[in-house]
Subunit: 351 residues, 2 copies
Amino acid sequence: MEGVMESVTISDIQRAALRISKYIVRTPLLQSPLLNEQVGASTYVKAESLQRTGAFKIRGALNKLLLMNEDTRANGVVAFSAGNHGLGVAAAAKITGCRSIILLPKTAARTKIESCQWWASEVLFYDPQTEDREVVGRSIAELKGMTLIQPFDDDDIIAGQGTLGLELCEQLKEQGAHPDSALVSCSGGGLAAGVSVAMTHIFPAAQMFVVEPQGYEKMGRSLRSGKPERNSSVPDSIMDAIIGPRAGSRTLPILRSRNVRGLSVSDEEALYAMAVAFGTLKLVVEPGGAAGLAALIAEKADFSGQTVAVICSGGNVDRNLYIRALEHGHSPRLGRLDAPEPDSFPGKLPI
Amino acid sequence: MEGVMESVTISDIQRAALRISKYIVRTPLLQSPLLNEQVGASTYVKAESLQRTGAFKIRGALNKLLLMNEDTRANGVVAFSAGNHGLGVAAAAKITGCRSIILLPKTAARTKIESCQWWASEVLFYDPQTEDREVVGRSIAELKGMTLIQPFDDDDIIAGQGTLGLELCEQLKEQGAHPDSALVSCSGGGLAAGVSVAMTHIFPAAQMFVVEPQGYEKMGRSLRSGKPERNSSVPDSIMDAIIGPRAGSRTLPILRSRNVRGLSVSDEEALYAMAVAFGTLKLVVEPGGAAGLAALIAEKADFSGQTVAVICSGGNVDRNLYIRALEHGHSPRLGRLDAPEPDSFPGKLPI
């Protein structure tokens, strides 16, 4: 294995888990027989949408902040983010008692803006059409003497997100499951890289897949080319949590050395996966957080008869989009959830 | 305390927990700072909607079936149910390897019917307008030589449901919380009675409340009169899981000896609580399962400044009703979730 791979090790992740465990939720690993029947695979879903702040991002942020020296931390932290990373940093800052400034695109989901406003010391907005978030973020940090917290290209962040993979593997073992495949949403690759370190350590036979929005397959291309690629086109996608502009330079070598493969899903496939998670698992999952489940349901690789671990990584979705998922989620393959039920309220009541 | 109270003891519940733990999910106890701010109380939500079969009922059913002698169990079991109890019995039967016949009202939520059809050996329907489910259930059991599993008036069922209360108390202790109040949905009272035994044993200072649909306050009236009352009127309610006709004769003395108080909520209040659970906890909760949360949000008693434990007991809700909750859930007191967000799809995308 390449030397660069050792940038984040299993013991980094184990130490991170000890460091952050008292501040986070040990999210459950769930099964649904209806889901298993639908996808033809024994599926274990890690319900990380139930994490504090509604996404996994608080894991990396807490690990990072708890590793900073106290004086630096006391000056405060800055994060730029489409939402979940900002929320995670703001919450970690509040928990560790330091100031935070979160820079959000003015188009962020309202549920993320409101939550950020609760956790953060200050929320600022930028215009994603005309401003570069990295430039704005850096200049704010410099001006205020605060530390900019990277969303993914930072080994402490990667190790923190890896605690999700460690927990997943522990729970799989507790339930006697040996995964053939593991599916995780991916943008910059912080979560995927951390999870891949834990997964390949504990279940070396498992094939890991990162799942991206169609048209945003920067990591898939990076895994093939061997260098961090950017999203060249910017089509619309509802998977707002995983449409960042570039793959990480520290995450890519980790993923590549572990033979992680790239898949992608459409908005329609993500919406359908959200509807399936609602019906079978009783989980609220946001579009980007449902990408892994969507790839399984839409058979983006051959998972039939396998044991599959899927991470549902976030649940921060606005109501209107969620309603849209429940109304219009459909799949050419699966009939069960296609047709809306006849209206069961207030006419036909199950008395 | 009265002798009859000792029908179910804390050690019955502890033994039930050991008996069933490997078959069930240890559902998480969640907090949301946004929810705490909204209700003005430190709120701990037990996410039992994530239990296998989407509700707590499998706990009691498993305890009952595992305590039956093997020959009796091998003949199979029958349950009549508006849905969740039937699902729980069917799943427990499949897990313990025996046959099950589940009798459902033909008006049951489709999500419950489909799940029952997956778990049960056989699903039969009755007409709630013209048939008495207890009479039909008993005659089927007699005809087939199977055992009828009561939904609540059975000490083994009560002890099994009590494991939810035991788990809740353990998790509260782990999180350093000492509840002033605890809120739980109630129909016949099996869950409430079991939880009350655990809660008053571990947190004797906590005041427990059972929450019923408005117009269905049979347990509230029973707690005052001292005898099991029936629902006299049958108005429409969307809380299909908790509109059974009568309070339990074995559950009532348990609840009464522990000074449990009765509250009730409207359909609108339940719908709003479902929308709050979606937005703040990322949980899919069914109307009857949201009654406790609804009573807290609608301030049915003075909870301000308290530490409050709430059980969200089920998540089996059809899509159309859930969409209705998200679209129309509103509250005179709470502005935050009142107005639907401007449509965030597909026009305004958070890129």
